[in-house]
């Protein structure tokens, strides 16, 4: 009697690493950092991502850049001061600056920076160097101190969306939906300035949905079939 071929199932666990580069050396980035510590990174870890944190005094290029070059890093995120061509860390240490970073730090990765202006030039330069998708702002990111968590919540939808396996376009849609929801709520509460500030941030968010200058709308974090069983093609005569 012929032996039936046995099916084997193999599971490949590829450790997907997120690099978090967060400033917290003054009150305005510290507020965002604290929100992300509480709401963003636990969510990413809960979705199975390994989060390497370069925060506070560790948010410096000589720590973060070698980590970003590691082959299993798929996602870079953080809050910090920025200009059109530079993202900075602790005490304005330039982490990524046009002409002063290695292509390997962004190639094949998705990047989200809660920072001012970096979408203008740096984000586009990342994409030109092989970054899959860039999410950031082309103006100052503004917020109202009394309602700061609402602003950080809207921006954090980007990290949460990627953690949930959405494409860049779906992540953008989800973030905009959150912005719109909060804008409507603020208007209803008579907080016209808070609503207008949220509108400002929403409309200055640049992503692949704005233009291919910021990458591929279809980019997503689970392209590498993370933790999914590898399936063999069904062969005639094999078990169903």
């Amino acid at each position: 009697m012929a032996r039936l071929p046995r099916r084997r199932q193999r599971t490949i666990n590829l450790d997907v690493t997120v690099i978090a580069i967060d400033s917290n050396f003054e009150p305005f980035t510290k507020a965002a950092f604290e929100y992300r510590q509480k709401h963003v990174y636990p969510y990413l870890e809960g979705r199975g991502f390994h989060v390497m944190r370069f925060q506070g005094p560790l948010a410096r290029r000589y720590y973060a850049a070698p980590a970003a070059r590691r082959p299993n890093v798929d996602y870079l995120t953080g809050v910090g001061h920025g200009t059109h061509d530079t993202y900075t860390g602790d005490y304005y240490d330039p982490i990524f600056s046009i002409g002063n970073y290695n292509q390997e730090e962004v190639r094949g990765k998705i990047v989200h920076l809660l920072s001012c202006e970096t979408a203008r030039s740096l984000g586009q330069d990342f994409v030109n160097q092989g970054c899959l998708a860039f999410f950031g702002y082309d103006e100052n990111f503004i917020y109202h101190q009394g309602d700061s968590e609402v602003f950080f919540e809207c921006d954090s939808e980007i990290d949460l969306g990627f953690a949930d396996g959405l494409t860049a376009e779906q992540v953008y849609d989800r973030a905009i939906a959150k912005y719109n929801q909060r804008i409507t709520e603020m208007r209803a509460q008579g907080k016209l300035y808070v609503a207008a500030m949220l509108e400002f941030d929403r409309d200055h968010l640049r992503t692949p949905s704005s233009s291919e200058m910021w990458g591929d709308r279809e980019a997503r974090l689970d392209d590498r079939e993370r933790s999914q069983p590898k399936r063999r093609k069904k062969r005639a005569g094999s078990d169903p």
Binding site: P27, G82, N140, I142, Q145, G190, A196
Partner: protein, 125 residues
């Protein structure tokens, strides 16, 4: 309160805070004086629309609106805390920060006008 004023107050939108009606919202048609939202939304008053304002008029209007508010603060991750005095100075200087403040203020004005139009269309039905 006179009958006319009472009627006017009742027709105002509840979504628009009372103080907003008295803040400057545009210039008179001859460009010589600022007009409050109350007059901008009055069809019998000749006023410049927001799109007709020169950059200088727009900056001065925004600076005056900020000055007249009881509280004003905005945080920019790039520039830190911008309080009322700094905001007025930045707007009048038409600096980069000033332009951000002008854009935010214009959004407030646009939303106020949208709300007035929406309320009027509801009342007309």
């Amino acid at each position: 309160m006179s009958k006319l004023r009472a009627k006017s107050a009742a027709s105002r939108s509840a979504a628009i805070p009372e103080e907003q009606w008295e803040l400057p919202a545009t210039y008179s048609a001859d460009g010589t004086q600022m007009l409050p939202l109350r007059e901008l939304t009055d069809p019998s008053v000749a006023a410049l629309s927001l799109s007709q304002l020169s950059p200088g008029q727009r900056a001065e209007l925004v600076a005056r609106r900020i000055e007249l508010q009881p509280e004003f603060e905005i945080v920019m991750i790039g520039a830190g805390m911008v309080d009322k005095n700094r905001a007025v100075a930045e707007v009048r200087a038409q600096s980069d920060i000033g332009y951000i403040l002008i854009e935010v203020e214009q959004r407030v004005l646009n939303n106020l006008m949208d709300e007035v139009i929406r309320e009027r269309s509801v009342q007309a039905k």
